[in-house]
Symmetry: D2
Subunit: 162 residues, 4 copies
């Protein structure tokens, strides 16, 4: 795909669509310097820090139109993506950058629709085993309404099994 071809393709976009493509381009450009995947940049995924009092790792994402389903609320799959990403980032922050993990299993309870604004994920490590890590995440919106609650089992790949 040449740039000229791309320009032609864009010529019939209306203003809202141009705005959407602008956001998609911004997300793509962020992946040039970020360790995040494109889909995570599309969510504006960001670490907020460690809440020592609650013993939870905090992350956030922004609900935008591109992430909504046909009923104009946040796509449940994106909620799951946010949770999975927050859990993976928590392992990275809590156990160090050399720990490699895969998700074995993820259970999400969807409690209320995600409508707009920033969502916050608070992730707690409930088991920190040699090979098994179990985490729980609560997702709330800016009104502090609970949107989703999830649990997940992760497996450490860096623990060599012989």
């Amino acid at each position: 795909m040449t740039l000229e071809g791309l320009y032609k393709e864009l010529a019939d976009l209306n203003e809202t669509e141009a705005q959407t493509i602008h956001k998609l381009v911004q997300a793509l450009k962020r992946t040039r310097v970020s360790p995040l995947a494109y889909i995570e940049e599309l969510m504006n995924f960001q670490p907020v820090g460690y809440n020592e009092k609650k013993d939870v790792y905090v992350h956030r994402m922004l609900i935008t139109d591109e992430l909504k389903n046909r009923f104009k609320i946040l796509h449940g799959g994106i909620t799951a993506t946010f949770i999975d990403t927050a859990m993976g980032a928590t392992v990275f922050q809590a156990l160090g950058p050399d720990v490699k993990v895969v998700t074995l299993e993820l259970t999400v309870n969807f409690l209320a629709p995600g409508v707009d604004g920033w969502l916050t994920a608070e992730t707690k490590i409930v088991k920190r085993g040699k090979t098994i890590i179990v985490m729980e995440t609560k997702v709330t919106d800016e009104r502090e309404k609970l949107i989703a609650s999830a649990s997940s089992t992760f497996f450490r790949l860096d623990q060599e099994v012989r």
Copy 2:
């Protein structure tokens, strides 16, 4: 965002990035005429049909670079999005377009990484209650390797509760 502003933004893209934006624009344009959400178009989500012998509804998606995580395999959240979308589409196909549902709970077991090509989801309705619908989905790749297995509880909104 004006088109001219957008063109400037695109000027420094390399060829691979231009190709990515091309795909994103195509996905956005498909939402003009499709009932699918943008994220579903990005996955190239498609219905394949009903397999009468197995009693499953079949859907598929294409693994592309935009949908991968930093380890260059399909993002687990996208697998969950594919499953949730396939289940929602199954309700639509099996119960009719007037049935409105929300996902109450989704459990996904991740069994093998999604690497490339088309993924196929086979969804079975295991309970078809007045208000509760329970479905199970198996996701396989083109080599017929089982990538993920999931179960989910959906709630019918069209059944008025007084």
Copy 3:
């Protein structure tokens, strides 16, 4: 079965076995005056009260030999039974005795073996909908070690659906 027949059957029990049957008889007799099922009496299931500060309903059970698996730790199924019973009792306490519910789905993460003594379940209602109730339960032992963490979706039968 006549009592005499039963007496004959018991004649070859050793002391430990007689002790076990004693406990089983006690549990059976408690069901005469208790709303609890036999299996719940066998677990010595008891309400402890509502912890206002934590906003959780507290219940407990006693690990006995009859409830262990062949590896001499608490049977995982009994842990699940304890959790399901604690959640059902929580609905009863929080919403009143006329509310009838069934469990739609239960997910349990087993975090450490149950070895001996009393187990405590703390149950929080995370969604209290018109027809859907979602709860989360944490099970700890007397050393405050986390044994299991669970989430569950309950359905209210008393909300008539027309």
Copy 4:
């Protein structure tokens, strides 16, 4: 507890209660020669065999009054116990008696009440990894009605992790 003490305790049982104690004693006596736990004997848990065509391991249990909840249907916790036991027995049959496993996580969807007669569990191994085993179990009653559907992640303890 002496036998004489036990006899006194039994003196006021009515016929139904004596019948219940009879079954409990029979279950206890079976544990003398069986590898099963008491709770499994109480369920009359039995292996039925391997169904090669379906590639599932089949087990069964008998619904009795002792296993019911206060609504006179099978206690959901016992359904979970049946499933967990069937999965453990499947590992034993499929991988050999030296393989030691623990349940990491169990998700059960309760689809219909268990009322009476024998329940059948069909268990399929969907992932047979070096350390992780994922299984799915379907529970049906004698009318072939689907009572419950479950998935579970097991962890092999015999694979030494260094």
